[in-house]
C-alpha cells in the first residue's frame, strides 16, 4: 500500500483518480475504521495542522463529518460559513481564501454552489491542500468514495456489480462522483429518471440510461437513490412531487422483482415518501447509516493521505 501515492496534491473529483488511488483511499479508510471504534478516537496524524472548513452552502452531515474526521486526526479546525463571513460584505471568493491562506492554513475543505469553485481555489492558493466537499452539480468526491467503501463492505468487491442511480442525475454531484468512481472500479452503472433530469451526453460517461424504474432495477445489486428537490418541480422539470413519487419513488412493491440481496443507498437528507418510502429507508436492505459512518473514515483517509509528510503512520 505504501508504494501508491495520490498524484495530485488536492482532491477535486473522482474523474481524475486511478483505480490504484481509489483502492489506496478505501484501504486507508478501512484502517481508520478501527480507530473510530476505539474508546479514545484520536490519532496524531494531523497534529499541528490547520484545516478550515469553508462552507458556502448549507450542509449538516458533510460539514460535521469532515469536522469529526479532522478532530480525530488531531488537526486544528476552523469552521467558516458564508452567512457569518465577509462574503456577506461583498468580498470575492479569491480574496476570502487568500486571506485565509495568509493565516497559514494547511488544508481548505470547500463546499460551494458553483461548479469548479475548488479548481478555482487551487489557482488562487499557493500552498494549501484543497479538498472538494461538493461543488455545484460537478463532483462530491468524498461522498463517491464513502459510497464505494459501503458497497465494498457489503459485497467484498465493487468490480462486476450493477449499480443503479435513481433520481435527479442532472443536478447531482453525487451521481457524477459515483459514476466516475464506480466505472473506474469496474462496476456497471445505470442511471434512471425522467428525461428532464438526465443530462445530455451522460452515456459518454459510461452509463446506461433508463426511463422506467422497473427496468432499471431488475439487475441491480446496488440502488442509489438521490434526493429530489422541490425547486426542480418549480423549474418545470416534472409536474409534481406526487407524480414523481408515483413514477420513480422506491417502494417495497418496486423492489419485489429485484435481486434479494440488492442494497439501498441514499446520500441524504431523505425526503421520505418522495424518492424513498419509509419502509424501504428503514429496511434490512438499507445501508444509509453505514454510509454516514463510512464518511468519517473516508474523510480521515483523504485528509491523512493528502497531508502525509513522509514516515508517520496510521498507528
Amino acid at each position: 500500500m505504501e508504494q501508491v501515492q495520490l498524484r495530485s496534491p488536492h482532491l477535486l473529483g473522482l474523474e481524475e483518480l486511478t483505480r490504484e488511488e481509489i483502492q489506496l483511499i478505501l484501504d486507508t479508510a478501512d484502517s481508520f475504521k478501527e480507530v473510530i471504534e476505539r474508546p479514545i478516537r484520536k490519532v496524531p496524524a494531523l497534529r499541528g495542522k490547520s484545516v478550515v472548513n469553508l462552507f458556502f452552502e448549507p450542509s449538516t452531515r458533510t460539514r460535521i463529518s469532515f469536522e469529526i474526521a479532522e478532530k480525530q486526526l488531531s488537526a486544528d479546525v476552523i469552521n467558516f460559513s458564508a452567512s457569518t463571513s465577509s462574503v456577506a460584505k461583498g468580498e470575492t471568493l479569491r480574496d476570502t481564501v487568500r486571506n485565509i491562506e495568509a493565516m497559514k492554513v494547511d488544508v481548505v475543505v470547500i463546499r460551494h454552489a458553483a461548479a469548479g469553485a475548488p479548481q478555482f481555489l487551487t489557482r488562487c492558493l499557493t500552498h494549501s491542500v484543497v479538498i472538494n466537499a461538493g461543488d455545484g452539480a460537478h463532483e462530491h468526491p468524498t461522498q463517491g468514495l464513502l459510497d464505494l467503501l459501503t458497497i465494498r463492505d457489503r459485497f467484498g468487491r465493487v468490480d462486476g456489480l450493477r449499480v443503479v442511480i435513481v433520481g435527479d442525475i442532472a443536478h447531482s454531484r453525487v451521481a457524477r462522483s459515483n459514476i466516475w468512481g464506480l466505472r473506474t472500479m469496474g462496476a456497471s452503472v445505470a442511471v434512471c429518471g425522467p428525461p428532464t433530469l438526465i443530462p445530455p451526453g451522460i452515456e459518454t460517461m459510461g452509463v446506461e440510461v433508463f426511463y422506467r424504474v422497473e427496468d432499471a432495477l431488475r439487475e441491480a445489486d446496488v440502488i442509489n437513490v438521490l434526493r429530489i428537490q422541490l425547486e426542480r418541480q418549480h423549474g418545470g422539470l416534472f409536474p409534481t412531487l406526487r407524480e414523481y413519487a408515483r413514477t420513480f419513488g422506491i417502494t417495497p412493491e418496486r423492489l419485489i422483482h429485484t435481486k434479494p440481496h440488492a442494497i439501498i443507498m441514499h446520500p441524504g437528507p431523505i425526503n421520505r415518501g418522495v424518492e424513498l418510502s419509509t419502509d424501504v429507508a428503514d429496511s434490512e436492505r438499507s445501508v444509509i447509516l453505514d454510509q454516514v459512518t463510512n464518511g468519517i473514515a473516508i474523510r480521515m483517509a483523504v485528509l491523512y493521505l493528502l497531508n502525509r509528510g513522509g514516515d508517520d503512520d496510521v498507528e
Partner: protein, 448 residues
C-alpha cells in the same frame, strides 16, 4: 500591465506613401499580385508620374513590404469598446489602439454601453471620442430604447448622427412584433438589423454550451436551439418585411444550415462568425477558465466544423471578433459568476491565418474578403479596397511570422483571452488609416 508592443506613428497622413514589393491581396478588385501600392493625402492613388525616390522630385515615405502581405485595412464590424460607462475595461481610445495593433483600420462598436447608444446624443459622444482614436470607429445604435426590447429607439436621429446599423447586441429582442417593426423601420435607412439571436427562456442560467462537457463539469448549458429558434424567427421576419438582416456571431451548425437555406431562397441575410467560434470547442471550458466564458458559448467540434464550412462556402460572409473586454477582477471569480466575453482584436488575424488559411479552409483572398470588403458593404462603409480613390486604409502583415500569445502583447485595457500559450501565425507590421502610418513590432516572433 503594459504591453511590450509599439506603436510608432510614422507619418501624419499628408504627402506620398508607397508600399513596395508586397503581395497585394485586394478582394474587391480580385488583385493578388506582387507590386507597389501608392497613396497620397489620405487616398489610394495610381503611381504618380512625378514621384522620385533618389533624384529629387516628390519623395514618398517608403515601406518595404517584400515578403509581406498588403491588404485593404481590416474592418471589424462587431466590437465592444465599453465607453461610455466601463472605461476600466476599455475605452474608445484603448480599443482603437488594440484594433490598430491587430491590423484593423475600422471597427463598428456595439451599443450596450452605459448609457446605451440609443439616441443621437450618445452617438455624438462616441464619434467625438473616436476623433482622437487611432482608427475609424463607427457606432451601431440600439434597436430598442435601453436595449430593453420594449420600444424602438430613435433610429432616424441616430442615423443622421452617424450610426451604421442597429443591434441590441448582448440581448435578444424577445418580442417578435418589436423585431418585425424594427426590420420594417430600418428599411428606409438601408442599414442592417444585427440581431443577437438567443431565446432567453432556453438559455436561462446557462454559462456554457449544453452537451457532454457541461454534463461532466456540472455547469448549466445553453443548447444550440436557443440560438437557432431565433435565427429561424428572424429569417422569417426578414422575409416578411423585405428588410436586411445581418446575424451576429453565429455559433451552431443548425444556424449555418438555416442561413444557407435563407440565402438560397434569396432572403437578404448575411452573417458573421468569430475567430473563437471557428477555433475553440467547449473542451476549452474543462479547466473552468473564465476566459472561455462567452456568449454565444464555445460549441462542439461538429459546430466548429460547420462554421468553417459556412465560411468556406460563403454562407458566413464576415469574420468579426465580438471583442468583449473585462477586467481581471471581473473574471477572477467562480465560473457561474463571471461575465461573458473575451478580447479578440489582437488575435483575430493570427487565428484566421493559423486556423483557416494555413489549413486550406479559406484562401487568403477569401479570408481577407471577410475582413474587409464584405463588412464594408454590409455596413455601407467607405474603404475595404485598395482601388484608387478609396480611403488610404491599408494593413501590412508578415504572413509567416509566428508569435506566442502572452498577456504582455495586448494593448487592450483588458487581458481576458482564452488563447494564452497558443502560437499564432501572421504578425501585423503596419496599420495605415487615411494615410497615417503606424508601425507595429511583434516581439519574440520568429520566421518560419
Amino acid at each position: 500591465m503594459t504591453s511590450n508592443r509599439g506603436p510608432a506613428r510614422l507619418t501624419d497622413g499628408r504627402g506620398l506613401v508607397v508600399i513596395r514589393g508586397g503581395r497585394i491581396v485586394d478582394p474587391a478588385s480580385g488583385r493578388d499580385e506582387v507590386g507597389d501600392v501608392w497613396m497620397e493625402d489620405g487616398r489610394m492613388i495610381e503611381r504618380p508620374s512625378d514621384a522620385r525616390e533618389e533624384t529629387g522630385g516628390r519623395r514618398p515615405f517608403v515601406i518595404d513590404a517584400r515578403g509581406k502581405v498588403v491588404t485593404p485595412g481590416l474592418i471589424d464590424m462587431h466590437v465592444h469598446l465599453r465607453e461610455p460607462g466601463r472605461e476600466d475595461k476599455e475605452t474608445i481610445q484603448s480599443g482603437a489602439r488594440a484594433g490598430s495593433a491587430g491590423g484593423f483600420t475600422a471597427v463598428a462598436c456595439m451599443p450596450n454601453t452605459d448609457p446605451v447608444i440609443d439616441n443621437a446624443e450618445v452617438v455624438h459622444f462616441v464619434l467625438e471620442r473616436a476623433r482622437q482614436a487611432d482608427i475609424k470607429v463607427y457606432p451601431i445604435g440600439a434597436i430598442t430604447k435601453g436595449e430593453r426590447g420594449e420600444q424602438l429607439a430613435e433610429i432616424a436621429e441616430m442615423v443622421d448622427a452617424g450610426i451604421v446599423g442597429i443591434s441590441d447586441d448582448g440581448k435578444n429582442v424577445d418580442d417578435p412584433a418589436i423585431m418585425r417593426r424594427a426590420l420594417e423601420y430600418a428599411k428606409m435607412f438601408g442599414i442592417p438589423v444585427i440581431p443577437h439571436c438567443e431565446d432567453m427562456n432556453l438559455s436561462a442560467g446557462g454559462v456554457m454550451n449544453e452537451g457532454v462537457v457541461s454534463t461532466v463539469l456540472g455547469l448549466k448549458g445553453i443548447p444550440n436551439a436557443a440560438e437557432e429558434v431565433i435565427v429561424a424567427r428572424d429569417i422569417t421576419l426578414t422575409e416578411l418585411t423585405g428588410s436586411r438582416l445581418h446575424i451576429a456571431h453565429v455559433s451552431t451548425a443548425g444556424s449555418v444550415v438555416l442561413i444557407r437555406e435563407a440565402k438560397r431562397r434569396g432572403i437578404a441575410v448575411t452573417a458573421e462568425a468569430t475567430p473563437h467560434h471557428f477555433s475553440l470547442t467547449d473542451e476549452a471550458v474543462r479547466t473552468y477558465d473564465t476566459n472561455t466564458k462567452v456568449n454565444p458559448p464555445l460549441r462542439t467540434a461538429r459546430d466548429v466544423e460547420a462554421i468553417q464550412e459556412g465560411l468556406a462556402d460563403g454562407t458566413i460572409d464576415v469574420i468579426a471578433t465580438d471583442h468583449a473586454p473585462h477586467t481581471i477582477d471581473d473574471k477572477a471569480v467562480e465560473y457561474d459568476l463571471a461575465p461573458f466575453g473575451l478580447i479578440g482584436l489582437e488575435t483575430a488575424l493570427g487565428l484566421v491565418i493559423a486556423r483557416l488559411v494555413q489549413t486550406g479552409t479559406l484562401s487568403l483572398m477569401d479570408a481577407i474578403r471577410k475582413m474587409t470588403v464584405a463588412p464594408a458593404r454590409i455596413l455601407g462603409l467607405p474603404g475595404g479596397t485598395l482601388e484608387p480613390g478609396a480611403p488610404a486604409d491599408v494593413t501590412v502583415f508578415d504572413p509567416d511570422r509566428q508569435w506566442r500569445v502572452t498577456p504582455d502583447v495586448f494593448l487592450s485595457r483588458s487581458r481576458n483571452s482564452p488563447f494564452y500559450g497558443w502560437t499564432l501565425r501572421g504578425a501585423v507590421e503596419y496599420t495605415i488609416v487615411d494615410g497615417r502610418v503606424s508601425g507595429w513590432a511583434m516581439p519574440g516572433g520568429e520566421k518560419t
